[in-house]
């Protein structure tokens, strides 16, 4: 095997391993100060996705629905591009394909107690985010078709907003198997993540989200500016350098 192939297959093995955290160290007895000063590979920034087919949101109608929702949550206007223009679908697809989508960090052991949500004061799930999207988007389109004669993406913007507001405030229950209010919050959280996280993750294209609010991004030293309290600084945002 050539060196490059070896590296690639190594990369594939790492990518395939379900990781909760970036930590890949093995159980070992560590004596003396570790001499290897290279950046731990699992801690490197991810590679930027360069387009191409999606891996989770592969169903056309599902993708149209989530795109329509995202663009009502963050529409294009004088403050910046819409969520889909900023890459939030690509962002969500990558997140759902990875540890977040798999619910890798969650404690998912049963039994599910009937009063869990009440005690915790927020909704809890054994289902993974990936499963919740699949179920929720399907239920939303079925509900929209049943109620308004067309899937969500084909409805008027005002109607779409009305439905989203109903999901947000608990007036609409899409289906018994969907916690509609919590599903709305999941989508709102994820679209914000896509719009305001480092462009390395697929969203926030051209750092549009950061420019909208004036966040200077992945800067690491403000000592030159810290004394200029209360002054506009107009700093150009910077982003992380991807692995590739």
């Amino acid at each position: 095997m050539k060196r490059r192939e070896a590296l690639l297959s190594l990369g594939a093995a790492v990518a395939a391993a379900p990781a909760v955290s970036a930590d890949t160290a093995r159980a070992e007895v560590v004596r003396n100060y570790p001499q290897d000063m290279a950046l731990d590979r699992a801690f490197q920034p991810p590679s930027v996705r360069v387009g191409g087919p999606l891996t989770v949101l592969t169903d056309d109608s599902e993708r149209r629905t989530i795109g329509a929702i995202f663009d009502r949550l963050i529409p294009a206007d004088e403050f910046g591009p819409s969520a889909t223009e900023a890459g939030c679908i690509e962002f969500l697809d990558a997140q759902l394909a990875g540890p977040f989508g798999q619910g890798a960090a969650l404690y998912r052991e049963g039994p599910r107690a009937p009063d869990e949500d009440k005690m915790v004061q927020k909704a809890q799930f054994i289902a993974t985010p990936r499963e919740r999207y699949a179920t929720g988007l399907k239920a939303l389109d079925a509900w929209a078709t049943n109620k308004h004669g067309a899937p969500f993406a084909d409805l008027e913007a005002a109607r779409q907003d009305e439905i989203l507001a109903g999901m947000e405030n608990g007036d609409i229950e899409l289906a018994p198997e969907v916690n509609t209010k919590a599903f709305f919050e999941l989508m709102l959280q994820n679209v914000r993540e896509g719009y305001f996280s480092d462009p390395i993750y697929g969203g926030n294209k051209n750092m549009a989200g950061w420019k909208m609010i004036g966040f200077p991004g992945a800067r690491y030293d403000y000592r030159l500016y810290a004394d200029r309290t209360g002054q506009k600084l107009d700093l150009e945002p910077v982003n992380l350098i991807p692995k590739d």
Binding site: V20, A25, N32, L39, F43, E116, S197, Y201, Y220, Q231
Partner: protein, 591 residues
């Protein structure tokens, strides 16, 4: 690895702040120390350098440096008649995922507790009478040590961590610019306070005008380069704001990695076993001592580590759970008041207010994890409680911590749309105009609170999860309301156009919403063996070669972050072990 490792002098369970401070003391005194940590090896330069660190999604939102709930969670309920439910997602238990523990990802507030806290029961009775200390709900008890006894060890911890601050009381002399309410200090902080940023300026001006006493929070984010007593060099903080939940790529946030490992790891009498979880302390046949610990490594091997001395220095919940699982010392029973393990779980009782201006330029992205201004006028027993329905108080602070754009999207004035163009318009304006007054309230122990093992839910090793039964004391709820009202007054004086108060004491306690991540108690210290698990030197009353170190020993919580007190107690116990215990093994204290 072998099933039974060679015996060592000391085994340290968990290599966070407590474990590394103790290991440093004990190895320097010539003892052989083996540390065992559930996490893998991580360090700042190899894992969280500036090329990786400034990434809100990965570290602050996905919390990749934390030990995930999948591996570390609890069940909880508010009252004993309820059935506890498992916490499935991240919540108030922010345990570290690697060596260094939570000390690697913490924000860096470097506090001492008030002198009052250590003698809370005596002082309350002395000033207000017995009725105030005994309301049939609270379970106040003194710590068995005084602030004055702990002061030299606070000083040592601050020197190791390099804490940046300005003294308010040096040997009884009140110092201008510092906190006039703090306990007397031997000397000033090792490094000067950090810069005063915009939100702090506004808070300082308003509180001074109101006759209050603002000061800069003591920070483990260093204001200048520094060499600590172990010969370890630290750098100056660059105000990047990527601290809480993050590593630090500048060697400027104090952590076991930045302050202790460079000295400790090079010692031939120290080693750390990584990715290995201690499940049990093993009892000796004589019933008076322990023989070491049992751990499971990531390959599933169960291994014994014999030791002459066992130090439990894990996170608060784990110290308690390991003791419960080892069946050492009697389990606390809330009905009879007998037993001590699982007693006096406390938290922080948080209230405060969010606030917004119309035309400020806060530049929130310039900050440091612990940076902010605080007033202690309404903290601890710094004000008269005679006519108030509570004891204790809150450190009332404003933060110049960070400007994280995903998280701050939720911090918009009431009535601002949460989505759509209205959201974008509101966020574009108020990102530069948002601030908070956060009341970090004390937490009084209650008789009804217990930590025990859950009958239903288990972790991946088959060990029962810790079950938390807890709700806030009425005293704390009253305190939270009182300090919330004070926060609103300050916010108005600051000139805020929108003021939106919050009070976690309004609702039942939940482990699922992060009011704070300071979980306290379960193995309380004290001078009375019937109400404490460990004596004032943190030695088990029931096994003299077992020491339990960390926030699990606080019998209550003061209105401050716990790390400084954890550090001071750890150093004090390590000194007692190598100066006294190893020469005369046995109880260090008369029971």
């Amino acid at each position: 690895m072998e099933r039974k490792r060679p015996k060592t002098d000391v085994v340290v369970v968990g290599l966070g702040w407590s474990g590394s401070l103790m290991a440093e003391e004990l190895t320097r005194a010539g003892l052989n120390v083996v540390a065992i940590d559930r996490g893998g090896w991580i360090d700042t330069s190899t894992h969280t350098p500036p090329a990786v660190d400034p990434d809100e999604l990965r570290w602050a939102i996905r919390k990749e440096l934390f030990s995930p709930p999948r591996d570390n969670t609890v069940t909880f309920r508010n009252r004993a008649e309820q059935t506890a439910v498992p916490l499935r997602d991240f919540g108030i238990f922010e345990l570290g995922g690697g060596v260094g523990g939570a000390g690697f990802h913490w924000a860096g507030m470097g506090w001492r507790f008030s002198p009052w806290a250590f003698e809370i029961r005596s002082k309350t009775i002395e000033r207000y009478g017995r009725a105030k200390a005994q309301d049939d709900e609270m379970q106040l008890q003194d710590w068995g040590i005084t602030y004055a006894e702990l002061e030299p060890f606070y000083d040592r911890w601050e020197r190791i961590a390099g804490i940046s601050g300005q003294a308010g009381n040096i040997q009884g002399q009140i110092q201008p610019g510092g906190n006039p309410f703090e306990g007397p200090r031997t000397r000033d902080y090792p490094t000067p306070k950090l810069k005063t940023l915009r939100m702090m300026e506004i808070f300082n001006n308003a509180t001074e005008k109101m006759g209050l006493h603002p000061f800069t929070i003591p920070c483990a984010n260093l204001s200048q380069p520094y060499v600590n007593p172990l010969g370890v060099t630290m750098g100056a903080c660059s105000y990047c704001g990527f601290c809480l939940g993050f590593g630090c790529g500048n060697f400027s946030k104090s952590s076991p990695q930045a302050c202790i490992f460079p000295a400790l790891m090079r010692r031939s009498n120290f080693s750390v076993i990584t990715k290995s979880c201690v499940t049990k302390v093993n009892k000796a046949a004589d019933g008076k001592t322990v023989t070491g610990v049992t751990f499971v490594n990531e390959h599933g091997d169960t291994i014994e580590q014999p030791a002459d001395i066992v130090c439990l220095t894990a996170f608060q919940v784990d110290n308690t759970r390991i003791l419960l699982n080892s069946q050492i010392s009697e389990v606390y029973n809330a009905r009879t008041g007998t037993g001590t393990v699982g007693r006096n779980f406390t938290f922080q009782t948080v209230s405060g207010t969010d606030l917004w201006f119309e035309a400020e330029t806060i530049n929130p992205f310039i900050g440091a994890g612990a940076l902010g201004s605080q007033i202690d006028d309404y903290n601890s027993d710094n004000f008269d409680h005679s006519n108030l329905g509570f004891i204790g108080g809150a450190g009332m602070l404003t933060l110049s911590r960070d400007g994280m754009p995903i998280a701050k999207a939720s911090a918009l004035p009431p009535g601002t749309p949460r989505w759509g163009s209205g959201f974008k318009k509101g966020y574009a304006k108020y990102y530069q105009n948002y601030g908070v007054i956060f009341n970090q309230g004390c937490s009084m122990p209650v008789k009804a609170a217990t930590l025990d093992l859950d009958p239903t839910y288990r972790d991946k090793y088959g060990v029962p999860l810790l079950r938390v039964t807890y709700d806030y004391a009425q005293s704390d709820r009253n305190m939270a309301k009182f300090t919330m009202d004070r926060a609103v007054e300050i916010a108005r004086e600051m000139g805020a156009s929108h003021v939106s108060p919050f009070n976690f004491g309004d609702k039942p306690f939940t482990a699922g919403i992060v009011a704070s991540d300071h979980v306290i108690g379960g193995t309380p210290m004290g001078s009375d063996p019937t109400t404490s698990t460990v004596n004032p030197l943190l030695q088990s009353w029931d096994a003299h070669n077992l020491f339990v170190v960390g926030a699990s020993v606080f019998p209550m919580n003061d209105g401050y972050n716990p790390t400084g007190t954890v550090g001071a107690l750890a150093i004090r116990t390590a000194r007692a072990i190598h100066e006294t215990y190893v020469k005369h093994p046995g109880s260090l204290v008369e029971g």
